[in-house]
Symmetry: C2
Subunit: 298 residues, 2 copies
């Protein structure tokens, strides 16, 4: 088992446990709870919360309940965004990770409410987390900014408007930086905050996160071109069907692969620099970089 | 001009100013900002934030920027809920306060995102407000609980499921307590928190808020029966059209009016008791009770 697979197997249950317990305890409508838990259980790779936990652990800090609460809040924001993103008025997806999407199972009205409920619960969980007051407020500010109208929601809005339009590379990167990049930045920087790191270290973590966030998106576009529906568990070439601009469309497949390699190289360089401070074990974060590579057989 | 009209005229611009400035400064997509500001400008009576401000003022505490920030955050949560509530998959309303609803103007996808953005921005504004850390965390916990999966969103979910079903009075009250009651409770209790009141006073404020919250909903149902479309600026008898249970349907029109009077009487009694503590001017809060009465000519 790879280092990352082992880390995922160890850590994911803790993150999922916090999400499931919180929603179960804090939801007073049975069907609403079912709908939310359906999307939580639908799973996925938990990249964002695992990055948060891995960053805390890299600084040799204890991964305790407040860390999992923060990681769970982040994954809840991500999960709400997928539910709303899949709605007929948005991307109109019937499948997500090989399973029927939330609105397909529970109806559109309940899916909208499940998303609203998850987003609200994410801030509630973080506001109730067992953290020092100042740290908690900083994380609430950062998460709401990352998820909000300069962050993820703004990226979604730009994405919706960009459909059926030819975007420049710069426009495409601007959309992705907000739509997926901001939550990945939050994951890594929040890990640094929870590990009580200095402003200088937080800046480096932020740069690292920006490189892997971009890599993550380029990889997604590249895989979308070269994979089959079966492997990904979702309908492939949808982006193409919606006439969305993608990295392979703008750079060519080889150009996109080269851009991906470039981002991952820069991410590795930052990890190497962080390691010079001592008390920093880059192993797991480096395993994420490995994971983001597109292998020849893919 | 009535006491409440004067208070509204004085205070609403401050609340609206905080909302507009925050969204303008914190939104990076032009169309998204337009869509959000459209619903903010669509107005309404600002009952919730005005109740918050009135409660702070009743205790003779200064109504300063942090109070308006908290009031604005509350109104942003309410505004997001209206945008999502009006969506085709939910109540499918084309008009709200006599104006086309958000999705009618900006499309469903942008309306969903405007709601998501407003909800996120509400927590962001409160997290960035100029409040003491402990007070801010308490208010964030209370607002997220009131708006969340045991509060407003749960009420909406129950409401969606209650459509086309005959509800008992108890079920109807349970839905309203969550769907509209929780944010009204937050308004009044948050006012007490911002005015640094004791736990005992907060409990009385909470009871006061529960009575006027219920009155607010009964009044809405009663007006829905006896008003015309023109007066309300929305399509009347929709609840009837959706076969929803209402107070007049369950209690008869006169029974509903009596229940309304009963709630307002209890609310007045609590204000009278709060006034015995001294340093409490009930004038404006009493004016809200007046406003909630259904006059004979209505």
């Amino acid at each position: 088992m790879s280092k990352l697979a082992q880390f995922t197997k160890e850590q994911s249950p803790h993150i999922e446990d916090v999400m499931v317990r919180f929603i179960t305890q804090q939801t007073s409508d049975t069907r609403l709870a079912e709908s939310i838990l359906y999307s939580i259980h639908a799973g996925g790779k938990r990249v964002r919360p695992l990055l948060l936990v891995a960053t805390v652990a890299a600084f040799d800090k204890p991964v305790d309940l407040p860390v999992y609460q923060c990681a769970a809040a982040l994954e809840m924001v991500h999960t709400y965004s997928l539910i709303h993103d899949d709605l007929p008025a948005m991307d109109d997806d019937d499948l997500r990770r090989g399973k029927p999407t939330n609105h397909t199972v529970y109806g559109e009205a309940m899916a909208i409410l499940a998303g609203d409920g998850l987003l609200t619960a994410a801030f509630q969980l973080l506001a109730m987390a067992e953290l020092a007051a100042d740290q908690k407020i900083l994380l609430l500010q950062q998460l709401s900014q990352a998820a909000g109208t300069k962050g993820m929601v703004a990226g979604q809005a730009a994405d919706v408007q960009g459909e059926n339009q030819a975007l420049t590379l710069e426009e495409l990167m601007g959309i992705h930086a907000r739509k997926t990049g901001e939550l990945i930045r939050f994951a890594v920087v929040a890990g640094g905050v929870l590990a009580n790191q200095s402003e200088a270290v937080l800046v480096e973590l932020d740069q690292f996160a920006q490189h892997i966030g971009l890599a993550f998106q380029i990889r997604d576009d590249v895989l979308d071109v070269i994979s089959t529906t079966e492997e990904l568990g979702k309908v492939v070439h949808r982006d193409d069907a919606l006439a969305k601009s993608t990295y392979p469309a703008l750079l060519g497949l080889e150009g996109a692969k080269a851009a991906l390699t470039d981002e991952l190289t820069k991410a590795r360089q930052i990890l190497a620099h962080l390691s010079t401070y001592g008390q920093f074990d880059a192993t797991v974060l480096a395993a994420f970089i490995e994971e983001f590579e597109v292998k020849e057989n893919q």
